[in-house]
Subunit: 343 residues, 2 copies
């Protein structure tokens, strides 16, 4: 059994074929596959091919509109809105991103609202799509109830990712993307599969007591990062990325879905800012000034977020993405079995 | 020696008189005094009369334009910009807030940029001024270098406050406002004055080693809250609330000022969102849906942020604000001595 190395493009095509064979329309499957292949390319395994099963399970459960065509809604001030019509978020974002970028340049800033989508993706591919336009960007969305508020005992908020990016000339953008829980649910799931205990401070069991058992944690609640501060940010995400955009909060998403084994349906909020416009008429070039800041971070031995991811990407783009024989066998099995093959 | 109780209005007038006698124009001093009196009213002592000294010191050092009149710049898309012209942020915010609210309702969202101000205030008074318009709001600004990035050894970022609010009908808004350092610099200063050690994990000394000595912490660096996640948010604030708006970052603010004993000059970024506009055409009333979320937080015994502050306010508005004899003597001393009386 040997490893297999393939290009990003080939992995994207292979993943898209799995979804198409399972009944997902090409517009949807290509966008989903680009995101999953990007996860593998960047050695971000928790958002790589591991996610295919969940997508297929959710399709099988009838929770995804397989041939949804996202719809750009009429212009409304600084708000760009894409109705995903029950499809995955990925195709909706790809439709909305260039419109958001255009509107942010017209007004200095703008918001992209995605409604009624199924969401499984990391937010950094979206952030990077906007920094490529020379924009700063912020993205957030609910998930489904799995995190207790600080001082609480029961899951309420989701792992609610929060992501931000700043464009850089001639190098990878500044990008962070993290769960507002101490850990991402995917990380706990990986511990469960590996049979390894969780670090202390990640989770509580169903009775509200601390636990390091991944299964007990998945039945109980995770803790927000940074105590009451992280809890407040997670709540803000429920409000802005759920309530405000007229889409589901994490408790509503879980209630509608009835299961953590399926992917949540909700909305997403992405803000884009034009630094050139905000800085106009002021001293100094914002791109150069940001580099001074990044230099001061790196100069004291600290890292910029996503540095490891970008290093993995550089290697993958030069040498290909390597999957184990077991992973390849799993892709084959998913291709053959379609929605029924998902575990 | 007995305590003295006075109304919010009387305390505001008394604080404003201190600043006016020291040479600050009424437009500036009234806005500053409202913020300081609000800190006392809400039992938020670290932003109450304790701040008067720092304001006076900064005035004495010639770092504040005493008769600055903030200027509303021409409309520019979704960006509302107020030039503080070297005055305090407070008067600039009061000028910009109604324009921001109007623009946010026209476009769905808008940004208020304050440039070239001296900043000493908590952000929650600003957030509350916007939630009173039925808007959600987010505010952030740099400070001066006192926090090391995660993995670093030297102060670079400021304590960079991050604040958010959501309007509620018939009750106090949902509001949080926190330093992106583990603790606010003011809290460390209060420990120093009280001679009490810091909790573990707040700070490092000048060599980069952990310390619980407040003086060593003030000479060294504080730690960001929540590890690399909080560090990333603090960096985002340097970028959006400093670089992007063409105003000073925390290292630049410290370099220009040359001292932690003076108040930093920089800018501030405030975003406002109209939930009614974002939710238009979608199912459910965002105000009611937010209450469901808040009810679920409170229902499991967790708190909403600012609850203690609002309780203190309620008591203060009913019974007055009580200051100790020592505090009153200090106000008298500051009034008599003006800029020279500040310690």
């Amino acid at each position: 059994m040997t490893d297999t190395t393939m290009s990003y493009t080939d992995l994207t095509a292979r993943v898209s074929q799995i979804f198409q064979r399972a009944g997902l329309a090409p517009l949807q499957s290509d966008a989903v596959a680009r995101t999953i292949a990007a996860g593998e390319r960047d050695a971000c395994k928790s958002h790589g091919i591991y996610r295919i099963d969940g997508c297929l399970r959710t399709m099988k459960a009838g929770k995804v509109a397989l041939d949804a065509v996202p719809e750009l809604m009429p212009e409304d001030g600084a708000i760009v809105r894409v109705a995903a019509h029950g499809g995955f978020s990925n195709a909706a974002f790809e439709m909305g991103a260039p419109v958001l970028a255009k509107r942010a340049k017209e007004l200095g800033m703008a918001a992209l609202v995605i409604n009624d989508c199924t969401h499984f993706a990391a937010l950094w591919p979206e952030i990077e799509a906007l920094t490529a336009h020379g924009l700063a960007a912020m993205a957030m969305c609910p998930s489904y109830s799995s995190v207790a508020p600080a001082g609480g005992t029961e899951a309420l908020m989701g792992t609610n990712p929060f992501a931000f990016g700043w464009p850089r000339e001639d190098t990878d953008p500044y990008v962070f993307d993290f769960a507002t829980s101490v850990a991402a649910r995917g990380e706990i799931e990986l511990h469960r599969r590996a049979g390894t205990p969780l670090p202390e401070g990640w989770a509580m069991d169903a009775s509200g007591a601390p636990t390091t058992d991944p299964a007990a944690a998945l039945d109980g609640a995770m803790l927000p990062f940074g105590g009451h501060k992280g809890s407040a940010i997670a709540t803000m995400i429920e409000l802005l990325g759920g309530v405000m955009i007229g889409d589901l909060t994490s408790p509503e998403a879980l209630k509608r879905l009835g299961s953590f084994s399926l992917l949540p349906g909700h909305g997403e909020l992405i803000l884009a800012f034009d630094p050139a416009r905000f800085a106009a008429g002021r001293e100094g070039d914002p791109m150069a000034r940001a580099e001074t800041l990044f230099g001061a971070i790196l100069g004291q031995g600290a890292r910029l977020p996503s540095q490891r991811r970008f290093a993995a990407r550089k290697a993958a783009m030069a040498d290909g993405i390597t999957l184990t024989a077991e992973e390849i066998a799993r892709l084959d099995r998913l291709y053959e079995g379609g929605m029924d093959a998902a575990v």
